[in-house]
């Protein structure tokens, strides 16, 4: 199903212009003293929420901006969220 994503620079554009960049897992961990376990948690482990999830997107065929949006994985549609959003439902 096709859907729109709102780029902070270019506004609403076709979803296929973008590249998905993963779940938002907070800031990249500090490399000093980083264990393989912590790194794997950050790189590979996902919550796979069936519901609204905060995630990174990259405007590949556009302005090259990286940004986060809230999206409902059950519909693909972007969800507008005030402040820092709802409690993620799973």
């Amino acid at each position: 199903m096709s859907f729109l994503i709102t780029c902070p620079t270019c506004g609403p554009r076709k979803g296929y212009e973008f590249r998905y960049g993963g779940e938002d897992k907070g800031p990249r961990p500090d490399e000093a003293g980083l264990t393989p376990e912590e790194w794997v948690e950050y790189v590979h482990m996902n919550r796979c929420v069936a519901g609204v999830s905060k995630e990174w997107w990259f405007h590949r065929d556009g302005c090259s901006a990286w940004f986060t949006i809230w999206r409902d994985t059950r519909t693909n549609l972007q969800v507008q969220v005030s402040n820092d959003g709802p409690e993620e439902q799973s």
């Binding site: 096709s2 296929y16 393989p36 590979h44 996902n46 999830s53 059950r74």
Partner: protein, 408 residues
């Protein structure tokens, strides 16, 4: 003459007991096969399969029915090879025709890099005793005359990897056959029964909570296909290295026989086979963002029509009749996660199959059943521990020929 009322192949409304020796979450092929082998090989019949919707709703009924054992890595191949060998055996054992058609898989190469990768795959397969050989374009043309092996297509065919023992299996028949086989041995298949939680006390599994009440069990297997990773996080707070992506497929109107092998191309992102009804079943595309929609996209229908008719020009003007999508739970190394008793005793996991879940279900069910019954991990499942990601020992399946495009 009158028709007798049809009786279902399996007991569709067994009583829900308050306790079982094992509970399998998900009514897909991996659960059904596990249940079947639990009863057949280990005498464990006090077992429940819990399915939120109906058996065969998910990947079991949404795949493209292709089976093969030409994977890249030595850890993966034995499991797929045994699965392939089991189709004719199960057809007899279940007394149900699974319609295994071993027409062989033809994997097209569209670049020198892809040819090199294919030769590597073929060498690995031959080393393990799996039938696989390289074909030059002229041989490809002899085998499937409808393929355009000239310089005209956007990605000309440089050769192909031919895997004779693979083919297609009627996927619904596998669901029904295994359900019949499991049910006849006393396994309870509970449809419309949603698991809402997993109970664990002091690091030991106690059972599950369901939409129809609490069930006690010392063993719980999570094998819910594309839904497994979300459930693992929701029930136990355990995140998995999985992305659930939708994979799309479609069939054309029925045609006279023209394709007597499964043909696939990594570069075009297409695979196709002609069903016994004459439809060309085709698919392969995954939208690269996680979602649970199971919807197809106009974007891909168009791509699929263009790609398919570029290598098979005789299909121009043919119409698609139906299209659908299913979930593929992709891991970073395209190999599954099969693990148990970590971090909770009695909790087992069989997921992360990506788009390999159908072709692997029979042998995996057999070994997962052994794992559940004995508590000892079978040797063949050793490589699929979850901890391999923490050790950065990912498997090399992504280097397989199927992943090679003209840009590699």
């Amino acid at each position: 003459m009158f028709l007798l009322p049809s009786t279902p192949l399996w007991d569709t409304s067994p009583p829900l007991k308050s306790s079982y020796d094992a509970v399998l979450i998900g009514g897909g092929l991996h659960s059904l096969a596990t249940a079947y082998y639990l009863a057949r090989d280990h005498g464990m019949t006090n077992v429940a399969i819990l399915e939120r919707r109906f058996i065969g709703y998910g990947g079991a009924g949404r795949n493209t029915a292709i089976v093969r054992a030409n994977q890249r890595t030595q850890e993966n191949v034995p499991l797929y090879q045994e699965a392939l060998d089991l189709w004719p055996v199960l057809t007899r054992e279940l007394d149900y025709n699974l319609m295994f058609y071993n027409c062989g898989n033809l994997n097209l190469c569209h670049s020198e890099a892809a040819v090199t990768a294919a030769r590597m795959n073929i060498a690995s397969a031959q080393f393990q005793g799996v039938g696989s050989e390289f074909l030059a374009p002229a041989d490809v043309k002899r085998m499937v005359p409808a393929l355009d092996v000239s310089d005209r297509p956007r990605h000309p065919i440089h050769g192909a990897m031919f895997h004779p023992p693979g083919g297609i299996v009627r996927h619904d028949a596998v669901v029904w056959g295994l359900a019949k086989g499991a049910s006849e041995q006393g396994i309870h298949i509970h449809q419309q029964t949603e698991v809402t939680g997993i109970r664990a006390v002091d690091g030991k599994i106690q059972g599950v909570e369901t939409s129809r009440g609490t069930i006690n069990s010392p063993r719980v297997l999570l094998s819910a296909g594309g839904y497994s990773a979300g459930l693992s996080h929701r029930f136990l707070g355990v995140r998995l290295p999985i992305s659930p992506l939708t994979i799309q497929a479609m069939v054309t109107q029925p045609l006279k026989p023209l394709l007597n092998h499964v043909v696939s191309s990594g570069a075009y992102h297409v695979y196709c086979n002609q069903t016994l009804k004459g439809e060309i079943a085709t698919g392969a595309h995954m939208d690269p963002w996680p979602n649970y929609t199971t919807q197809t996209t106009a974007h891909y229908l168009k791509h699929q029509a263009e790609a398919l008719t570029d290598i098979l020009p005789c299909l121009r003007g043919v119409r698609f009749m139906r299209h659908w999508a299913g979930l593929a739970d992709m891991t970073p190394d395209m190999a599954p996660i099969i693990d148990g008793n970590d971090p909770v005793e009695g909790y087992y996991l069989n997921c992360g199959w990506g788009y390999f879940g159908f072709k692997s279900c029979t042998s995996t069910g057999k070994y997962v059943a052994q794992y559940l019954a004995t508590g000892e991990r079978p040797e063949i499942l050793e490589p699929f521990r979850l901890s391999r990601y923490k050790q950065h020992r990912l498997m090399g399946e992504t280097a397989g020929a199927i992943s090679y495009t003209p840009w590699n």
